[in-house]
């Protein structure tokens, strides 16, 4: 399994912060613990696809604006498909 790029959790948080502000860290921690059953800092690229699916469902419960949901999940998917060794997003 690919090792987590340095700061993947921080990158996910940074993207989430744009949409959920101060609640971002609690939101991501909840999704990772409840659905991936691991510590948020331990998420890997392999976990990201599953995490994005759960985030898509959760955010859809928070807003009826599908554009925001799509925009948010697309930003996360860019993280998932970002090549190793490249500069972080």
């Amino acid at each position: 399994m690919a090792a987590a790029p340095a700061g993947l959790y921080e990158q996910v948080l940074r993207v989430t912060h744009v949409y959920l502000g101060p609640a971002a860290d609690r939101f991501i921690a909840r999704q990772v613990r409840n659905h991936l059953h691991k510590s948020p800092e331990d998420i890997t690229k392999a976990d990201l696809e599953k995490l994005i699916d759960w985030i898509r469902v959760a955010v859809a419960l928070l807003t009826e604006d599908s554009e925001i949901v799509e925009e948010y999940t697309q930003q996360l998917e860019r993280l998932a498909h970002h090549d190793e060794g490249s500069k972080p997003i």
């Binding site: 959920l20 502000g21 101060p22 609640a23 971002a24 909840r30 955010v59």
Partner: protein, 304 residues
Amino acid sequence: MHLTSRAFSRYAGLVVLFLIMNLFLPVPPRAHAFGVDGTQYHVLLFTVLLPLALVWCISYYGAITLYDFARRMEGTPEGHGYRQIARGCLWLAWGFLVPATIRQILFSIASGHPAFQRTAVIVMDYVNLSVPLVAFSIIGTGSRALLEQAKTRTTVYDTKRVVVLFAIIGVLFCYYTFRQLNLHDAASSSNVYFLPGWALVLTIVIPYLYAWFIGLLAAFEINRLGAHARGVLYRRAMQLLAGGLTLVIATSIAYQCILTMIPNDGKLALDYLLLLVYLTEIAEGAGFILIARGANRLKRIEEV
């Protein structure tokens, strides 16, 4: 049973008891002078109080919803701020029912014992004062805590607006209040407040002005929080909450101004005063609805 449902049921029950209590209060002698018998008086009183009672229930629902959200935020950096604001809102919501109950009881006693009228008016003035004094102080503490936690501050422009608004409200309030006094004899209590001028100024006017300044400042701080909250979805929820709190504070100040500038001697007002009371309380109820919506959205963000 959920905290919100339990607490709301208790409050609604007390409101119903308040309405029932009014059906058994003695009819003031002056009612008969208008050809109104006991039953008619009680029906009239019930009709006047029922819309207000509904607004009080809505307001309490908003306050307890915010309190429920604040409880869930315990242990988070924003927890203390939200809790203080929620406590202040609860104080405002109880500030409808409790003073109204005390007022009805005191003035019922006064209608049968005219010598008690003076005591009733004085007690009600201080009971009414306690609501904004405590509520706005607590809300102000909460808004300041949230502002500091968000590393935001009010601007010089905001401060100037607060001062100008406060000056306008303060001058109008003082003008309409001091009109009721005999300014040539500051020690005389022969006025509608039954207090000497100096006591009225020191113990009623100044505390109200302090409370309203704190309230206005809190409203501006909360608005700043709503406008500059980070996160698209979080900001939308915060703006609902901020809008509701601002409306509640503003209409609460207006309501207190009306209560003090137009001294109420316990009579059932069926004129423009009642209309003003309805308008301000309905607007305050609308503010609490916005608070409930904002709090629910923020709660959902913390739950999903």
